[in-house]
């Protein structure tokens, strides 16, 4: 028997794959290729040319800005005065923080006078010293009411007077008895 394969129907004996086969195959291929590495489209960023003029202008503005920022409100007296209010307020619990300079003076004088009367004659050295100091400081305060230094001195003196006033005469006697006289005060007297 002579067989000529050229005359045969050129079919393969295997059945056709299902309709979904190629779809599934394509999905698998896509998931393993494009799906695995999604395409990232890069955005083009704008490039600004740096001109010397613009750089110089920017530098000047920057330096000016920094100088203005650092130099602003840099007056030492003002800043000290601001600080003093906070520091003094610690000691003046029962009084308003800011007081009129003239009121302070008046108050100071009256307290000082009462103190001198109370303390006479036993603490006369102290009273006289404080009184003389108060007088000097009062004069100065009149001239320079805004001066921080004089204000604090006056306040501290006033505080001392107040503390002394809080003591009863008997307590003061005890203190006087137990305390030694200040040699430096004597020197100045």
């Amino acid at each position: 028997m002579k067989i000529d394969i050229e005359k045969l129907n050129r079919k393969t004996p295997y059945p056709e794959p299902s309709e979904d086969f190629f779809k599934q195959m394509q999905a698998n291929v896509i998931s393993q290729t494009v799906g695995k590495n999604p395409v990232v489209v890069k955005k083009e960023t704008k490039v600004f040319a740096l001109d010397f003029k613009w750089m110089a202008a920017a530098a000047v503005i920057l330096i000016g800005g920094i100088t203005a920022f650092l130099g602003f409100n840099n007056d030492p007296e003002v800043s000290m005065a601001k600080q003093s209010v906070i520091v003094d307020s610690v000691y003046k619990v029962d009084q308003p923080i800011q007081e009129n300079a003239t009121n302070l003076m008046a108050e100071n004088n009256t307290v000082a006078e009462t103190q001198t009367e109370v303390l006479k004659p036993k603490v006369s050295t102290l009273a006289v010293a404080s009184h003389s100091k108060n007088k000097v400081s009062a004069d100065r305060n009149m001239a320079e009411t805004q001066s921080y230094a004089s204000e604090t001195k006056k306040k501290s003196a006033m505080d001392v007077e107040k503390v002394l006033a809080a003591f009863t005469p008997d307590q003061l006697k005890d203190i006087d008895r137990n305390s030694e006289q200040d040699v430096y005060l004597d020197l100045y007297n």
Partner: protein
Amino acid sequence: MKLKDEEIVNLLTAPQTVEKGLRAMMDAYQSRLYWHIRRLIVDHDGAQDVLQDTFIKAYQNIHQFKSDSKLYTWLYRIATNEALQALNKMNRMKKTDEDAEYHMQNLVADNAGQDAEEIQVFLQKAIQTLPEKQKLVFNMRYYDDLPYEEISKILDMSVGTCKTNYHYAKDKVESYIKDNYSQEF
């Protein structure tokens, strides 16, 4: 609408259209490549794996494709290499070449459709007895009707060698069918 090879390659090489290009390439060649692979591997699932790998390899190496050759020639080459690799893996399990040949013939019988003609089953069994190169040339020439020039490019051999291989293969196949088909009937 089927796109030309050049359009498919252009789509594949542009990052924004790569998926479109991949789908166009698969739509154009999936059927032809499937049957080429199936005739070599025989098993459907094995053929599916090889076909997938073929398209994945094509996607990964599209930059190596030279536009002076045809896309389907390039794809056939990839598919053939992948199929041969898969066959070698399968045949490594077998002790001898006869065992491997016997295994493939059984596979043909198992995978043949119920409505398949006996002579076609015998033809496939006969092809499984051929050496590798003759098998490849015979399949591409007989079933895919590829010109010898294309076959020579796919298999990297001369046109004359391809012709010789085909004629040897044809004689062997006819002789196998004559011996075995006439015995059964």
